[in-house]
Symmetry: C2
C-alpha cells in the first residue's frame, strides 16, 4: 500500500512541534513575568493589552473566550486586576446578568510601562529570526491555530 495523504508518522512531527511551542511559551512567559511587578502574571497583562487593542467594555465571558480559558479563570484574573485598580467592573446596561470591564488610567499607564520594560528582552533575542521569518511564522501559526479552533466543535 502506498503512503497515504498525510504519510505515516506525521503524529511524531506534530508532537515535536507542540513540544517546541510549549517550551517557548513557557520561556517567554517566564521572561514576561520576571518584568512584571510582584504578584502579577501574564494573563493580567494580556487582558489589559487585549482591552486596549480591541476596546474597553468587553464582558468577562468575551474575554474568557478570547483567551480560551474557563470563565472561572477569567473571573479570578479580573478580580486581581480590579484589586490592583487597573480595571473597573461596571454593570452591563444591556444585560443585567453581565458586566463590563473598563480600563482605568492606572491600567493604561501600567500597560505602557510594562511594554517599555519588556522591550529590551525582545531586542536581545531579535537577532534569532529575520523580521520576515517572524512574519511568516506568525502567519503559519495563525493558520494552525484557526484549524485547531475549528476542530474544537
Amino acid at each position: 500500500m502506498p503512503d497515504t495523504k498525510t504519510g505515516p508518522d506525521v503524529t511524531g512531527l506534530y508532537f515535536e512541534l507542540f513540544n517546541e511551542i510549549g517550551i517557548i511559551s513557557q520561556l517567554s512567559r517566564a521572561s514576561f513575568e520576571a518584568r512584571l511587578p510582584d504578584g502579577m502574571v501574564l494573563p493580567h497583562f494580556s487582558v489589559i493589552n487585549h482591552l486596549i487593542r480591541v476596546q474597553d467594555g468587553r464582558t468577562p465571558l468575551q474575554l474568557a473566550r478570547a483567551f480560551q480559558v474557563p470563565k472561572t479563570s477569567m473571573t479570578h484574573t479580573l478580580a486581581g486586576l480590579e484589586k490592583r485598580g487597573l480595571v473597573e467592573m461596571r454593570a452591563n446596561p444591556d444585560d443585567a446578568r453581565s458586566k463590563q470591564v473598563w480600563l482605568t488610567e492606572a491600567g493604561r499607564t501600567f500597560r505602557d510601562e510594562a511594554i517599555a520594560s519588556l522591550a529590551p528582552d525582545v531586542t536581545e533575542i531579535s537577532d534569532a529570526l529575520e523580521p520576515d521569518e517572524v512574519a511568516e511564522m506568525i502567519a503559519t501559526l495563525a493558520r494552525l491555530r484557526k484549524r485547531m479552533d475549528a476542530a474544537r466543535d
Copy 2:
C-alpha cells in the same frame, strides 16, 4: 537617523509571535489533557515521554532543567507519577543527595495508550500544515528557543 539593524518595531512582531505561540500552547495542552485520565496533566505525560526518549534513571533536577521548570514543580509532578505507580524513585548510587527516576511497566503502558488515544486529534488537524512546513517550523522554533535559552544567562 536611518533605521537600525533590527528596524523600528520588531518588538510588536515578536509580541504577536509569542501571543500566537501562547495560544497554540494552551489549545494543544487542553486537547492533550482532555484525553488523559482523571487528574493527570500534560507534565505527567511529558515526563514519562521524556524518560522513554532519552533514558530512564534521570535525576529530578535533570528533568526540571529539561523542562525549564523550578525543581519544586518537578518534585510535585514526580510525586503524582509515583503515587499513580507510573514511575519509581530510587536512590542515586553515585550521590546520596540525589535520586533517580525509573519507569515502571505501568508507566510504559500508560505512555503507549496515551499516544494512541491522542493520535486521532493530531490527524484531525494534520491537514492544516504540510509535513515539510511542520518540519521547517520546528527547525525555526528550535533556533528561537535556543536563542532564548542562551539569553537566560
